[in-house]
């Protein structure tokens, strides 16, 4: 379990509780709150699911630790260690595949110095493989924190990553 560097644990718990409670903001129409919706709320806020979130979700939803783990481990969007400052998705679905996604993926990995779904050594950018980003007409598609960019090729993808690195370097992002 990686300890979050930014905050001590009691603060982390407080923040998790805040994320869980935030599901109840709409006073008139309270949406269905479940283990899954709670985990999504936590990950939206923290970008990962720390051990504390599993416990807090179990308490919040009146579920067991086992129940919560079974859900958290099932959906592939949940991660259990903090990601980099930015997450880059590269699609490997069939349309993007035909349009050259493998080479785009290879270029992105090379630029980041990783060879699978990992975070770059400087801790800034996390790479994820996506099964479909929903903009197949602009394939191959890559994305940064869910903001899409289409018609990628290996060169433009390298440029995209190096621009992003530069931007994070300058501290503009986040």
């Amino acid at each position: 379990m990686t300890t979050s560097q930014q905050q001590s644990r009691p603060e982390l718990r407080e923040r998790i509780r805040g994320a869980l409670e935030s599901q109840r903001t709409d006073k008139e129409r309270v949406p269905s709150i479940t283990v899954l919706s709670s985990l999504l709320a936590v990950q939206d806020d923290l970008h990962y699911i720390p051990d504390e979130a599993i416990e807090e979700t179990a308490i919040f939803c009146n579920a067991t630790i086992n129940d919560v783990w079974s859900v958290a481990s099932f959906y592939t969007n949940f991660r259990f260690t903090p990601p980099g400052m930015t997450t880059v998705d590269v699609c490997w679905g069939p349309t993007c595949h035909l349009m050259g996604a493998q080479k785009v993926l290879d270029a992105v990995q090379d630029e980041l110095g990783v060879d699978s779904e990992e975070t770059s050594a400087d801790g800034k950018i996390t790479l994820r493989y996506s099964t479909c980003l929903g903009a197949c007409a602009q394939a191959p598609v890559i994305a940064r924190d869910h903001v899409l960019k289409g018609r990628a090729n290996p060169d433009s993808a390298r440029q995209y990553i190096s621009d992003l690195q530069q931007e994070l370097e300058n501290g503009i992002a986040h």
């Binding site: 129940d67 069939p94 595949h97 290879d106 929903g134 197949c136 007409a137 869910h146 960019k149």
Partner: protein, 593 residues
């Protein structure tokens, strides 16, 4: 005015108040629409959806902002949904006061000042920018050199029912939907039709489910209608994990109120109390559009207690799922909404008896539900006139890959695939010679070769050809496409996404992927082809849901159309597959536990 003396007095009063409620909304909507279209300022609209964003529409919109209400206020500015002709994105569509409508294609932020000066500084002062692509409405001196938008080949062959508002209204403004007669079908239903009458219209229409299984929608609804349970759910499935399909999300991001109206009608026809729209997390544009639309509907008396002044009450919310393809299977979806792992349930009991939270439940695809307002507004008989005998209505096709005009097109059922490829799609992409292979119906669908391109788009004709229409994705591969490599990609997806509940699917997909991987590397073993077939058949018999049952489809259809290539690959008579020359492919290393 009411001559029937036996009619209770308050019925008339209630009817009056009901009419007034929608009439008021409608008057307000018309007023707003006229302000936008007939005022002095041009109304500039930027096509924006996932595809528009990927093409760079956000930067174009940002470049237009200084001209809008937040800047010099020289134009009205809106983000609208997808126009469907996605090869033209970013697409800027301008309604010129007292003139016509002009479409600018493939716009970049740098072009914006030049484009705008024509409309703002005076049309004679600055020529129309070269990005102007087509006009709509009447032609004038400025647009005489352009094509008529409606006569463009990809528009001509379309039959717009679901997509009639796409690109024309701001999805974040309920009044723009109402200005196009939106919610009039709901008003008609809750005021003047019984739930049974609405259900009858849907049955008569011959509408079949658009999620893949093509089950008759009216029949499905009739399983739910009779139950007297106090809480009953109608769920709308927009999980849409199929790579290559984006039409469900397309509806939500371009015209979410059509879906909401359809889902309320679904609830009314089946005496249900709650609607849930189910979307995968991370697709922020459709999620945001749907949430805002539901809020707007509540604010205007279209959701909640006594809808439009009637006795009917109905609640609706959005439920998000994590990343899981199997969550699109209806019982797995119910599990996900309950917050559990999305694995399929055993049936019976069927959802109509015990579904979400053990309450009677119906599940329908986004497109299926979005047809309902037009069925109720006209009639089931009218709808049945569109399409073929066994597949009424239209198909919303997502055309992608090596095609000249990728996009999302609505065509009448019965049009051939070749017409879609050639007339709408414009044929194979520039730089390619011919279309070799199509992958249709998502990763559990199949592939087809050229001999099947004359197949009609129709649920049954497509199924006979060995492919399926499924959710409407058609992925085009040119002559360079390596079929076994493409199949490996599909099977890799299916392996990655198996939920793991049934071992024939969990292990079978892994086996098949191993074999295909060996074939791509020219390392196939004797008996591998037989192994594929055995495993595929076991998956078909031994899996609970379509994910396992259909998992062999991609391979069997590839053997049908590209048997020779499969054979050669198996015998190691071809170059190694894949872009890296060694037969390898970059794939996720994780699978579900």
């Amino acid at each position: 005015m009411v001559s029937r003396t036996e009619a209770p007095v308050d019925t008339y009063a209630v009817a009056m108040s009901q009419q007034t409620q929608y009439a008021l909304l409608r008057a307000r909507a018309r007023q707003r629409w006229d302000d936008l279209t007939e005022g002095d300022k041009p109304w500039v609209r930027v096509g924006f959806g996932a595809s528009g964003q990927a093409a760079g529409a956000q930067a174009v919109f940002d470049a237009l902002k200084p001209y809008g209400p937040e800047g010099t206020d020289q134009i009205n500015l809106s983000m609208v949904g997808a126009h469907g002709l996605m090869y033209l994105e970013p697409l800027v569509d301008i309604i010129v006061p007292r003139a016509n409508r002009v479409f600018h294609a493939n716009v970049t932020p740098e072009m914006v000042p030049d484009i705008m000066s024509h409309y703002i500084d005076g049309r004679d002062q600055h020529p129309l920018h070269a990005s102007a692509y087509a006009y709509s409405g009447h032609v004038d001196d400025y647009t005489s050199h352009l094509s008529d938008w409606d006569q463009l080949p990809p528009n001509q062959l379309q039959k717009k029912i679901l997509t009639e508002n796409f690109g024309n209204i701001d999805p974040h403004d309920i009044f723009q939907y109402i200005a196009q007669d939106g919610y009039s079908a709901l008003n008609k239903a809750v005021l003047s039709m019984t739930p049974d009458e609405v259900l009858e219209e849907v049955k008569t229409s011959g509408l079949r489910g658009r999620g893949g299984a093509a089950f008759p929608t009216g029949l499905k609804w009739s399983f739910l209608a009779p139950s007297n349970a106090l809480v009953k759910y109608v769920l709308c499935n927009c999980e849409e994990g199929d790579p290559g399909a984006f039409n469900d999300k397309g509806i939500l991001e371009s015209d979410p109120h059509r879906l909401i109206e359809g889902l309320i009608l679904n609830g009314y026809a089946t005496n249900s109390t709650h609607g849930v729209v189910f979307i995968r997390q991370g697709h922020d544009i459709p999620i945001e559009a749907t949430r805002r639309a539901i809020d707007e509907a509540y604010q205007n008396g279209i959701l909640g207690e006594n809808i439009l002044g009637s006795d009917f009450s109905f609640e609706m919310e959005v439920s998000l799922t994590g990343d899981s393809y199997v969550a699109g299977e209806e019982t797995a979806m119910i599990e996900a909404i309950e917050g559990k792992r999305s694995t399929p349930r055993y049936k019976p009991p069927f959802p109509a008896q015990a579904g979400l939270f053990q309450k009677p439940t119906n599940i329908n695809n986004v497109k299926t539900i979005a047809y309902v307002p037009s069925i109720v507004a006209t009639s089931g008989d009218e709808f049945k006139k569109v399409g073929t005998e066994s597949s009424s209505g239209t198909a919303l096709v997502c055309l992608t890959g090596h095609i000249k005009r990728p996009g999302m097109y609505e065509v009448e059922m019965g049009v051939t695939i070749r017409q879609v490829l050639d007339d709408i799609g414009g044929g194979v992409a520039d730089g390619s010679e011919r279309i070799k292979v199509l992958q249709t119906g998502g990763p559990l669908g199949g592939v087809m070769g050229e001999e099947a391109f004359d197949t009609e788009i129709d649920f049954d004709a497509m199924a006979q050809s060995g492919a399926i229409l499924g959710s409407g994705g058609i992925i085009v591969g040119d002559e360079t496409t390596d079929v076994v490599d493409l199949i490996r990609n599909l099977v890799a997806f299916n392996q990655f996404e198996s939920c793991g509940k049934c071992f024939p699917c969990r292990l079978g997909n892994t086996h098949m992927l191993d074999v295909l991987d060996r074939m791509c590397k020219n390392e196939a073993k004797p008996g591998d082809m037989q192994l594929l077939e055995t495993v595929g058949n076991n998956m078909k018999i031994g899996s609970l849901c379509g994910h396992g049952q259909l998992g062999y489809n991609p391979i069997s259809s590839a053997i049908t159309y590209f048997g020779e290539e499969f054979e050669k690959r198996f015998n190691g008579e071809m170059e190694k597959s894949g872009p890296f020359g060694d037969g390898s492919m970059i794939l996720p290393s994780r699978t579900r536990p």
